[in-house]
């Protein structure tokens, strides 16, 4: 299960210890997270994060590792969900299958669907690929609404996960039990997908991404490389779909929708498609944004849009790349110099955000809730959306923040540039040793 053990021999020594530590830490986080966050909402959220991690990682097999931009990945996770819930209902009717294996059924179904649809999809790469997935996605989604017999119509298909035999008294009734099932799958699937990147097929997939033409001249059929990888990715997507079916105990047509596929794309990218662990971050952010952000503010879609805009512009490698850049700085022992700058940046950015958010919230208030009086509470303070004071205050806060931020930013950019230069020199020096 653990790729680290088998790769041990060839890898650079100190790295390996690190890898053990990372995987153990990952397992530990999965284990203790629900003990730290105990409310029922946070437990469902943790479960959903696990599910999202699997599906985003599987999406990244296509996007990050294979250079395949798919607009229809939800088809595979979604079909996994549907077949899993039908299977669950069969279990209720007496099919002798442990509930804990239902996600595997989801995986196999996702895979099967990919075997059929993937054949046409992966014939092409690049933009034609993207457009085929868009078309297939739209078709499947439209079909899902048309066939209530299989997809359950508006209400979808419901199931009950508390069914079948209960080994060790585990019924999966309480969320926490299900969480640990999901955590287990998440760990195993993550490990497997990581292992995949270390296999011949995984490597050839990278090669196909970078230079498909040349791949043909070293003996590989690029279409087959894409196809097999696509099917494997669909398998993991299906597992995630199966877990989602168990988690929600209901599957509706939204699981195959284009919106869902779009979310996988956006958040995988936000997390960082160029690093293996990027999508994990993306998945966590996805759940947080969907569940929490929308509770905090009505303007959440606006905030999300802005975050994307800025991330794509300033950190096109996603959150993961930001982390890696800082790790590099840390590796050269210069991170501590940056602390002050980071603090200053964070603080001033927060001020800007505060001012901007106050204004955004006031605008939303005027638009949506003006009738409830001009007053609204924002982070505990009371703002008057019709009052000059509030607007002036918010604008003042924002502009001051902006000014200070710019000062901090300039300082930081200079410092950062210096450090990068140092690192480059240092690397050259080490190379020439």
């Amino acid at each position: 299960m653990r790729p680290s053990s088998s790769t041990a021999y060839y890898q650079f020594k100190p790295y390996n210890v690190g890898r053990w530590a990372i995987w153990s830490a990952f397992a530990l986080v999965l284990l203790v997270a629900p003990l730290v966050f105990t409310s029922s909402l946070s437990q469902t959220m943790l479960s959903q994060m696990g599910i999202a991690i699997i599906v985003c990682l599987s999406y990244n097999m296509l996007l990050g590792q294979g250079g395949m931009l798919s607009f229809g990945h939800a088809v595979y996770s979604g079909m996994g969900s549907f077949l899993a819930i039908h299977t669950l209902n069969l279990v209720t009717k007496g099919l002798p299958l442990p509930v804990s294996l239902v996600p595997i059924v989801g995986g196999l179904s996702g895979m099967l669907v990919a075997v059929v649809l993937g054949w046409v999809t992966t014939k092409k790469a690049a933009t034609p690929f993207a457009m085929i997935t868009l078309g297939v996605g739209e078709l499947v989604w439209a079909m899902a609404l048309m066939f209530p017999e299989f997809f359950g119509g508006e209400g979808g298909i419901t199931g009950n996960r508390v069914t079948g035999p209960r080994p060790l008294g585990i019924s999966f009734g309480p969320q926490i039990q299900l969480y640990y099932l999901i955590a287990f799958y998440t760990f195993v699937c993550t490990a497997l997908m990581f292992a995949f990147t270390r296999t011949p097929l995984g490597r050839m997939l990278n090669a196909v991404r970078d230079n498909p033409e040349r791949v043909e001249f070293v003996g590989y059929d690029t279409q087959k490389v894409r196809y097999i990888s696509f099917v494997i990715a669909a398998f993991f997507a299906g597992i995630s779909g199966g877990l989602a079916a168990l988690n929600f105990e209901i599957v509706t047509s939204e699981v195959v929708s284009g919106t869902r596929s779009g979310a996988y794309l956006l958040f995988t990218f936000l997390g960082g498609a160029t690093f293996f662990f990027g999508p994990i971050i993306g998945a966590i952010v996805l759940v947080l944004a969907n569940v929490l952000l929308s509770e905090l503010t009505k303007a959440w879609l606006l905030y999300l849009g802005l975050v994307f805009l800025f991330m794509v512009m300033y950190a096109p490698g996603g959150i993961a790349s930001l982390i890696m850049m800082n790790l590099r700085v840390a590796a050269f022992g210069r991170l501590k110099e940056l602390w002050v700058s980071y603090l200053a940046l964070a603080f001033t950015a927060l001020v800007v955000l505060l001012g901007a958010a106050a204004m955004i919230e006031m605008v939303y208030h005027i638009q949506l809730n003006a009738a409830l009086g001009p007053e609204l509470t924002f982070l505990g303070a009371t703002l008057n959306s019709r009052g000059v004071n509030s607007w002036f205050g918010a604008a003042f806060v924002m502009l001051t923040g902006l000014g200070l931020f710019e000062v901090a930013r300039r300082h930081f950019v200079r410092q950062w540039g210096e450090i990068q230069e140092f690192i480059e020199k240092e690397m050259k020096r080490r190379e020439s040793l």
């Binding site: 409310s39 029922s40 909402l41 469902t44 959220m45 959903q48 439209a142 609404l145 048309m146 209530p148 119509g153 508006e154 209400g155 979808g156 419901t158 009950n160 508390v162 009734g173 309480p174 989602a244 929600f248 105990e249 209901i250 509706t252 047509s253 939204e254 699981v255 969907n290 569940v291 929308s294 509770e295 009505k298 959440w300 879609l301 949506l368 009738a371």
Partner: protein, 391 residues
């Protein structure tokens, strides 16, 4: 119980494409809650409605349910979309079964899939709207007296709601007016049609004199526009011509003969009429979700009867309870928890002295042309209600 606060979690889309409907309905709930709080309800409780954004998604609804339960809500309400409704009905059932003593009641104010009170019915679910079958029952009862109706064309969205409308119309009309011919039936993918003129051409070719549709939102407005453009002026019987946004589009299309079946209309007088006027003044928006009126009153009556605000007792009290609705008496039928209430058929026309209410400030209004007592639209149920033991 007097002076207690009953908190209701409202979960419907508050962002995204359906936010307009959701926002309006949240305000309606809050407005009704405020209106009937304290002495104005028999139990003397204070109602408070808090909005949760489920984005119209069944899965997100489950998250908002969890969030609401975490925050101590014992009453939830939802209506916009049967998908989310069915998800909530099922989730509430499972939650209540797995968490005895912490039961939650789900008041459904607009999700009209009949299965919610039939094969999938549940003890904790109470529907305040009339389901598709009831509306169709009322609509066909009206249509059977229209001699003009001879050849009907059914057009609808190809998903469960549209399919049900078609199915029940055919069944009901065959029963009531066997001479009426169905000259065509079209189900189109929901939200995908940009141009309805091919459908209009088909309708025209079929020689139909009447259209029946369960369409809503853009699928309805575009249909109406295409009909107007082609000059095909035949009456249309609908469910959702009054939903936010549609009247504006209807008005832009000029005069057209449109009927709507619903459990209310926009020209009520009396208390509800005053409330609508007040609502309009306050929010500059229409008060059309009258189920909020009934919902709060039903709760108040049940809490008075149960002398408690505990959902277990309140649920029991609501079964079979009769209360004063805005249009006569209404009864929460015990066998399936479907509210039995009066139904109206209204017609789209210019607002006048008698019916002055201008919907969405269009200068048009929905004029009630027929009111039907609850028994008319009552439909049988296949529900086998499982009641909690000891209840």
């Amino acid at each position: 119980q007097k002076g207690e606060t009953v908190r209701i979690a409202f979960m419907d889309p508050l962002s995204g494409p359906f936010a307009n409907v959701g926002q309006n309905q949240l305000k309606s709930w809050q407005f009704a809650a405020e209106h009937f709080s304290g002495a104005k309800n028999p139990a003397g409780v204070k109602f408070e409605v808090v909005g949760f954004d489920n984005k119209g998604s069944p899965q997100e609804s489950l998250n908002t349910l969890k969030a609401a339960i975490d925050q101590g809500f014992r009453y939830i309400t939802q209506g916009n979309g049967s998908g989310a409704g069915l998800a909530l009905e099922d989730a509430v059932a499972k939650y209540n079964e797995r968490n005895p003593g912490k039961e939650v009641i789900y008041l459904n104010y607009a999700a009209v899939d009949p299965s919610m009170t039939n094969e999938k019915c549940d003890y904790w679910h109470f529907r305040l709207d009339a389901d598709t079958t009831m509306k169709m029952e009322a609509l066909t009862s009206f249509m059977k007296d229209q001699p003009k109706v001879k050849k009907v064309y059914i057009i609808g969205q190809n998903y469960s709601h549209g399919q049900q409308v078609a199915k029940f119309f055919k069944e009901d009309i065959a029963r009531k007016r066997p001479d009426v011919k169905i000259v065509g039936e079209d189900l189109h993918p929901i939200g995908q049609v940009k141009d309805f003129s091919p459908y209009v051409a088909k309708i025209k070719q079929s020689g139909a004199d009447t259209i029946v549709t369960g369409n809503w939102g853009q699928d309805l407005t575009l249909l109406v526009k295409a009909l107007n453009d082609s000059g095909l002026k035949i009456p249309m019987y609908t469910y959702y011509a009054g939903v936010t946004g549609t009247p504006t589009a209807l008005a832009a299309g000029g005069d057209s003969e449109v009927y709507v079946v619903a459990y209310g209309h926009s020209n009520h007088s009396g208390e509800i009429g005053q409330m609508a006027a007040e609502f309009k003044k306050k929010f500059n928006d229409d008060y059309y979700t009258f189920a909020t009126y009934n919902g709060i009153n039903l709760l108040g009556a049940a809490m008075a009867k149960a002398k408690s605000t505990n959902p277990v007792q309140v649920a029991r009290a609501m079964e079979g309870l009769s209360f004063k609705s805005f249009a006569g008496d209404a009864t929460m039928r015990a066998s399936d928890h479907q509210l039995q209430q009066s139904m109206f058929v209204t017609k789209w026309q210019k607002a006048d002295k008698k019916y002055p209410y201008s919907v969405e400030n269009t200068g048009y209004t929905f004029v009630p042309i027929k009111q039907m007592d609850p028994y008319v639209s009552s439909t049988p149920t296949s529900c086998q209600m499982k009641r909690p033991s000891g209840g």
